[in-house]
């Protein structure tokens, strides 16, 4: 089932100009963060296998501005790791069957030993690469921006950011019995930024995340109308 959230119409420029003239446009120090903290309670945990956390205390990223705070920290649901973990466990048990293969059984003992430890090394490397792919594939929402860190493979990573105020549409998708049972799905965010679409794939609690994003967008709109800038 695809749920579509539509933003309210943007505040017209006349309202913004009126606020500027009346002097309501003044600098406030991150009032939005305090308000967001009252809107979303701190939840989740920021451990090794964390995939959902609001206001995680120990999370920072490189281009984070002073005073900018991470509101939501997301990764893909842990359940997506099950297929490759099962494959790794199966692969670890395979060396016991090597001796059934005549070419291997005919090799000297030293060669057999080296081949077996090479197998374990490659399996470990594969598991580490897959875990890195999950661990460093991060979606971050701050009080000002959306940050999408895609760790595609060992040789390719991509970091995309967009301001919350540029968000235009938020589409939440969670289909199938598996996703419904484990409460995970995907979110597509259309923006007016250089990167037109962000996709948060297989994240936990997609409905709640969609609501949070929309509330943050509304909050940003409200700040503009009231004349508050960072």
């Amino acid at each position: 089932m695809v749920e579509i959230y539509r933003r309210k119409p943007k505040a017209n420029s006349k309202e913004l100009d009126e606020n500027k003239e009346s002097g309501k446009m003044k600098k406030h120090g991150r009032v939005s963060v305090a308000k967001l903290k009252t809107m979303f309670k701190r939840s989740g945990y920021d451990g090794l296998f964390s995939c959902y956390a609001t206001f995680p205390p120990n999370t920072y990223f490189k281009d984070q501005e002073e005073g900018e705070e991470v509101v939501l920290f997301l990764r893909q649901h842990v359940i997506v790791m099950v297929p490759w973990v099962a494959m790794v466990l199966l692969a670890l048990s395979i060396p016991s069957a090597f001796k059934l293969f005549p070419p291997f059984a005919g090799l000297p003992g030293g060669y057999q030993f080296v081949i077996v430890i090479m197998w374990y090394l490659f399996v470990f490397g594969y598991a580490l690469a897959r875990f890195m792919g999950w661990f460093f594939n991060i979606y971050i929402l701050t009080d000002e921006r959306i940050v999408d860190i895609d760790f595609i493979n060992i040789l390719y990573r991509k970091v995309s950011t967009a301001k919350i105020e540029d968000v235009q549409d938020v589409n939440v998708e969670s289909s199938g019995a598996f996703q419904t049972f484990f409460d995970f799905g995907s979110i597509r965010i259309q923006t007016a930024a250089e990167v037109p679409e962000f996709e948060f794939v297989n994240i936990p609690k997609p409905d709640k995340v969609g609501v949070i994003i929309n509330q943050m967008v509304d909050q940003e709109e409200q700040e503009k109308i009231e004349g508050r800038v960072k």
């Binding site: 090479m118 490397g125 580490l128 661990f135 990573r157």
Partner: protein, 75 residues
């Protein structure tokens, strides 16, 4: 005949040994690359338990080098 067979088998094993060592050298370079990438990613995003990732990648490199040394010594 046995001598010819032995000579043939030794040369095949030697080729096999060279291939294994070459593969392990390439793999060790891949392990170094992985370590560099983990370092780069932990600098980009500071997380609570990212030291564990660094530890795992260092352990992986050490394991790769160990297997390389063992293969050179044993084979």
């Amino acid at each position: 005949m046995e001598i010819i067979t032995l000579a043939e088998s030794i040369s095949i094993l030697s080729i096999f040994k060279v291939l294994i060592i070459t593969l392990l050298v390439v793999y060790a370079m891949f392990a170094v690359l992985m370590l560099i990438q983990v370092g780069s990613m932990t600098r980009a995003v500071n997380l609570k338990d990212d030291y564990l990732m660094k530890l795992l990648s260092v352990g992986h490199l050490v394991f790769a080098l160990l297997v390389l040394i063992i293969s050179i010594v044993v084979l």
